[in-house]
Amino acid sequence: MAAVSSVLAALMVLFLWKSEAINIGTAYVLAIVPVALMVFAFVRSLRQSRSDSKASQRYLTRMALVMAFYLLTLFVAENQIEDRGLTGPLAALLALLPGLSFAGVIWIFGALIVEEQDEFFRLLYVRQGLIATGVSFTLAAVWGYLETYKIVDPVVAYWWPTIWCFGIGIGGVANKIKYGTFGEMR
């Protein structure tokens, strides 16, 4: 819950800043809130993770680093490109970075499956990944055709990997129903 709150808090700060309700200095000060929430979520998750699962602990550490990278690069890209009008190759590089953090998310989830020593949990993680992929790809395909025939408005593409992350949660619920255990929900 704290992890979700930290991302929502970061997006709220970003929204306040972009809507000019606060200036950049205030935004950086308020950024303490999501960072503090993320640190809290990370420490709490480490304490709650299965103590004998090194894979689960590595997963949490890596995910915290990637989320920090995502939020940092998003703020920098917004600040430099949107507000200061940066253009050219450097702008393209900055625009690439927040999206590339999703490659990190996929790698981290794959590493969790590879490194997990408990075969039952490996099964749960694989199911979660497949369910998330099924949900996000199906929604992307359906929405894409609805867009093509102008029945719905276009959606910014970064929502599909975001939905994949929610799909991991749906996969966890499916695991709980079938196997009595969620798997990885953080």
């Binding site: 299965r50 004998d52 699962s53 020593q117 408990d118 075969e119 039952f120 949990f121 099964l123 079938k178 196997y179 009595g180 255990t181």
Partner: protein
């Protein structure tokens, strides 16, 4: 698959966590195997058999 894991564990007064620790797996794994929600791999089935000093077929049987 059916299994006698719960009975064998009870005979030794082991909790699910005790058995999990001896097998090197999670407590959730033991619970899933005992309740028939999950069939263990052959290596894990051999480990279970060795722990209880029984042949695999004395622990696991077809439905």
């Amino acid at each position: 698959m059916n299994n006698r894991l719960k009975v064998l564990r009870a005979e030794r007064s082991w909790s699910q966590q005790d058995l999990a620790d001896r097998l090197g797996v999670s407590r959730q794994s033991v619970n899933a195997i005992e309740t028939g929600r999950y069939d263990p791999s052959l290596p894990l089935a051999f480990t279970i058999a060795e722990l209880f000093e029984l042949p695999i077929e004395a622990i696991f049987s077809r439905d």
